[in-house]
Amino acid sequence: MTLFEKLGGSAAVDATVDKFYRRVLADDRISEFFDGVDMVQQAAKQKAFLTMAFGGPNNYTAQDMKNGHAHLVARGLNDDHFNAVVEDLGATLKEMGVSDELIGEVAAVAETTRESVLGRI
């Protein structure tokens, strides 16, 4: 069974996205990066991110990740912010009753995007 299947597939993504995005928006460490964005489009991006972090199907390349976050890196996006997102993701999954082991696996998938998101490739 893949990680994506263990977590419950796309239904689990749907159930998680609102809770996760709400936590991110309310997080003072990172909320300023979301000021003025279209919330509906942003929620769709969060869903794509969760699908990826859950080990689900996606075709994002490292270059896509770099391009998609370049404007945020220019505004000061750094490792602390990346850590905050991963922490919020872990807290959301914990709230939903996901085991620590699976949360660790999700965090590890998210971790693989760190260098490209922060533009260090």
Binding site: D18, K45, A48, M52, P57, N59, Y60
Partner: protein, 319 residues
């Protein structure tokens, strides 16, 4: 080998290839993102309904417009696809039947559009014979006759269409296109709490949505918070009063920046809504009017627990 049409071009796809992949391979530029059916960047329109995975997660309005996820649909399932245009709806003739100035800067305009179905909360594009087009939300209460389109026009000094509308007479001809937008009553259970928050001519769609929900027998509470610069400029009070008298589960309050009269309250309609509803888990919210208010309300309602899919927002940008 599957073949389909993309606008004027015949596209030869490979077996089991997606529409998006075939278009990109043939050198067409199509916006795309996750290629997993989640981000909705790659939407195109199809001449026929595709259903299932190709339309998963799209809202009713997009489905009605034939939108599908080009990264999910296989080339062999489509015949003719195109970029999504807003103007695929027919243009209808509209004749002015009445006009009424209800405040210093708002004109109520009624038009007769044969074969029109009221679409409470959604908006239409109104085109003057000289070609100027502006979007207006439909204020028609749901019980009105099927051919009546009521609009609340905010008159903007020097506005290209505003200036002409002031001089409009009964019998003048316009055209309309629509309806557009996602701000309309939807309820699976009929018992959710509904918040309607807005300002200025945002009252038009909010009122219309309220009539739709109430006439369909919505059982949950429906609270409307209406913001205005001053009490004198808050219009449509009689209509709101009639609605609260007819339906015990409907309540409206007026919130003004200054010069409060009667029972009007000083302050933001959003702040008042938040104070009375600190936890919006399970709520539905409709937000219409000034863009700053609408965006702030969208975020606050979401952070207070409402699902994003239960928050319908329509920011009125001045053209």
């Amino acid at each position: 080998m599957p073949v389909f049409w993309f606008e004027d071009h015949e596209i030869k796809a490979e077996d089991a290839e997606t529409v998006l992949s075939a278009l990109l391979r043939n050198g067409f530029s199509v916006k795309n993102g996750c290629q997993a059916g989640a981000c909705q960047s790659c939407l195109l329109g199809s001449s026929k309904s595709l259903g299932e995975a190709a339309q998963r997660g799209l809202d009713d309005d997009l489905i009605a417009r034939g939108a599908f996820l080009s990264c999910q649909a296989k080339a062999e399932t489509v015949t003719r696809v195109s970029r999504l245009a807003d103007d695929i709806l027919p243009t209808l003739p509209a004749v002015v039947t009445s006009m009424k100035r209800v405040s210093t800067d708002v004109l109520l305009l009624a038009l007769d559009v044969p074969n029109w179905k009221p679409s409470p909360g959604r908006f239409i594009r109104l085109t003057h014979p000289n070609g100027v087009t502006r979007p207006y939300s439909v204020a028609t209460p749901v019980w009105e006759s099927n051919s009546l389109v009521q609009l609340h026009v905010r008159l903007i000094p020097g506005g290209e269409l505003s200036d002409r509308l002031v001089q409009t007479k009964v019998g003048d001809s316009f055209t309309i296109q629509g309806p557009y937008g996602k701000c309309y009553y939807r309820s699976a259970k009929g018992d959710e709490n509904i918040l309607l928050i807005g300002s200025g001519t945002g009252i038009a769609p909010l009122y219309s949505i309220a009539t739709d929900a109430l006439e369909r027998g919505h059982r949950g509470k429906i609270n409307l918070y209406f913001g205005s610069a001053t009490s004198a400029r808050a219009y449509f009070r009689e209509e709101l009063d009639e609605l609260s008298q007819k339906y015990p589960n409907f309540r409206a309050s007026v919130h003004v920046d200054a010069d409060a009269e009667g029972s009007d309250l000083i302050g933001s309609p959003l702040t008042a809504a938040q104070l009375e509803h600190p936890n919006m888990d399970g709520y539905k919210a409709y937000l219409c009017g000034h863009p700053g208010l609408v965006r702030a309300a969208q975020k606050r309602c979401y952070l207070a627990g409402a699902n994003l899919s239960d928050i319908s927002a329509d920011a009125f940008e001045a053209a």
